[in-house]
Symmetry: C2
């Protein structure tokens, strides 16, 4: 059975990992008997009050807050090697576009956290599949766009244009759909970029997990 690394970016849709998406991925993995391990970079981020939607001026740590989703069982991404896992999955949430890279601010010109970049390239070079959820495919596009990566972020034309500007191909999809790049071994699903409720999120992510697991077996 494959072992999957789940790369988190905090804990909460507006400044970290989208919680329901991350939980859906963990449930879908466990339902298939797949061992997983959560991981996140040890970096600070700006807190958004999820009640008001406003930045508070407070700073928290991505690894420490991601540990909330992982129930404390989490690794510093610095210590992870791409070849240590059979596949990686990245849930969405603004953390994927603000903490793991700067796509939310800089679009196609964004920079990627060095450990995220390293781990995903190590995994890819070793032939491991990678699953990108929600806005995380924009991060995948930044890293693998020059190789012509084919991803979806749903139907949002502005975000899709920024994805295309990385060199990637964007494919529109609904919440329950997955888009497969067979050549690069990359799978993506829109989740809350399109989903109206957590059941749609779970359906799309379950398909992504099923495909990733089949590829990594």
């Amino acid at each position: 059975m494959p072992k999957v690394g789940v790369i988190l970016s905090g804990c909460g849709v507006f400044d970290g990992s989208e919680i329901q998406e991350a939980s859906a991925a963990l449930i879908a993995l466990a339902q298939r008997g797949i061992e997983y391990r959560c991981m996140a970079p040890d970096i600070d981020f700006k807190v958004v009050d999820h009640l008001s939607g406003q930045e508070t001026g407070e700073v928290r740590n991505v690894l420490t807050e991601s540990a909330r989703i992982a129930r404390g069982k989490i690794d510093n991404l610095r210590d992870v090697k791409g070849v240590d896992y059979d596949a990686f999955i990245l849930p969405g949430g603004f953390g994927a576009a603000k903490n793991l890279c700067t796509f939310a601010v800089d679009g196609a010109a964004c920079s990627v956290n060095p450990d995220v970049d390293r781990v995903l390239k190590e995994a890819h070079d070793a032939g491991k599949p990678i699953g990108f959820i929600c806005i995380a495919p924009a991060l995948g596009a930044k890293i693998f766009g020059a190789q012509g990566a084919r991803v979806t972020i749903g139907h949002d034309s502005g975000t899709a244009a920024a994805v295309v500007a990385t060199g990637a191909t964007h494919v529109e999809a609904d919440a329950e759909d997955i888009v497969i790049d067979d050549t690069l071994n990359i799978v993506s699903t829109p989740a809350y970029m399109e989903a109206k409720n957590p059941a749609q999120v779970f359906e799309g992510i379950s398909k992504l997990v099923e495909d990733i697991v089949t590829r990594s077996s």
Copy 2:
């Protein structure tokens, strides 16, 4: 279709709502087409660093942090009436036993947050079913134990003894099981009190949601 209130206690197993349990409940509700609304009390709590497991000395707000799970769509429990919903569900996590009541510290002698107490009694008096997950059945025992409530917190004998000391009856159960109190219209499941992975959590919570929804239809 019934409308269900989900009472949260923060965001993270060690000082708030258990995230995977809360997400599992929301997914299971949405899969059945059930409308839900999250709610939490506007009170402070002591932060536990989920990486180290230690208290940090920091204080955060239960409502504000619960909003992370609810994607910002959440109500102050003070403004909720028990009769406004067809059923209530309370996920576990230490927040249910430290923020919604003081069971984690005081056991059967614990006090219950006044709005939690009020909303659940209003709902119960109006014949609405209530679902308690993980350690939350201890809170249910404190409120409804004098009426002979029948609940499970799994197999932990120490916690079960404290539950029994409220006047409630404790029934042992596994992660995938639910325990039904047909007289009081209360359903409980052990979730992470017993579960080894989020698939078991999802299975037990799905059964609880299915039963609650049937009762409130």
